[in-house]
């Protein structure tokens, strides 16, 4: 039986999440800016998917795998946006139900 040796270093990148930085710097930015940026991005992705599908259907020089991937990404981001909207509406209704 060989002694237990440590695994060789797989990579040197530290395992911090990519989410933590800039939390303080962006504390000043209002929430509606986040929402508008996100909406714009989702809109752009939908438009890209539209253009890609049009190119594929009219027989253009575009790879089918890329078109379907673009469609899938647009769909995913749209579903996420819908879930966020549902949560926001729920929160708004809860606030509305506060009886004075």
């Amino acid at each position: 039986m060989t002694a237990i040796t440590s695994l060789p270093n797989l990579s040197a990148t530290p395992l911090t999440g990519g989410v933590r930085p800039q939390a303080s710097a962006e504390a000043q930015k209002p929430f509606k800016d986040f929402m508008l940026e996100a909406l714009n991005e989702v809109n752009t992705m939908q438009q890209d998917a539209d253009k890609a599908v049009q190119q594929l259907v009219t027989g253009g020089d575009v790879n089918a795998a890329e078109v379907l991937t673009t469609l899938q990404k647009a769909d995913m981001s749209f579903k996420l946006m819908m879930q966020i909207r549902n949560k926001l509406v729920q929160a708004y209704q809860e606030v509305n139900n506060i009886r004075i």
Binding site: L15, G18, N63, A65, E66, T69, Q72, S77, L80, Q83
Partner: protein, 142 residues
């Protein structure tokens, strides 16, 4: 949300598609000639692709996509056939009267096509897994 994972798998699909295109080209041109830079006819050179990691599609943890770095041509000795009345027969030298044909190894090309097919399937499977992971993530919000 896992968008880079989709991009990585899509880049692999595109790369395997290019590889399959070169294999089809080699099989289609097994016996054909092509014009080289001087305008003379010489046998078709089999092409093969070189893949490389693509740093433009990468995550902070080191996962990268793939791109086609180059499409190289092979330099093998052509196949000579004795055809003295052929319009492209060699006119002088030790190979006078012979015609040079490309030497494409059909078995190697078919094995490459098999590898490309399995790699394509594997990447579509990886994309399906990523998709189902994303859909399950959405269940957090209900």
């Amino acid at each position: 949300m896992m968008m880079t994972a989709f991009d990585i798998s899509a880049s692999a699909l595109v790369a395997q598609r290019v590889r399959m295109d070169t294999i089809s080209s080699n099989l289609a041109n097994m016996s054909s000639m092509q014009r080289d830079a001087n305008g003379e006819m010489k046998p078709y050179d089999a092409r093969y692709v070189i893949f490389q990691t693509d740093d433009r599609i990468s995550t902070p943890y080191g996962a990268t996509g793939v791109k086609v770095a180059a499409v190289q041509t092979e330099n093998v000795e052509p196949l000579y056939r004795w055809q003295p009345n052929h319009p492209y027969a060699i006119k002088e030298g030790p190979k006078k009267g012979y015609v040079a044909y490309p030497k494409v190894n059909m078995n190697a090309e078919f094995v490459d096509a098999l590898v490309a097919t399995r790699a394509y399937e594997a990447n579509v499977g990886a994309m399906e897994i990523t998709k189902s992971m994303s859909q399950q993530t959405l269940r957090i919000l209900g």
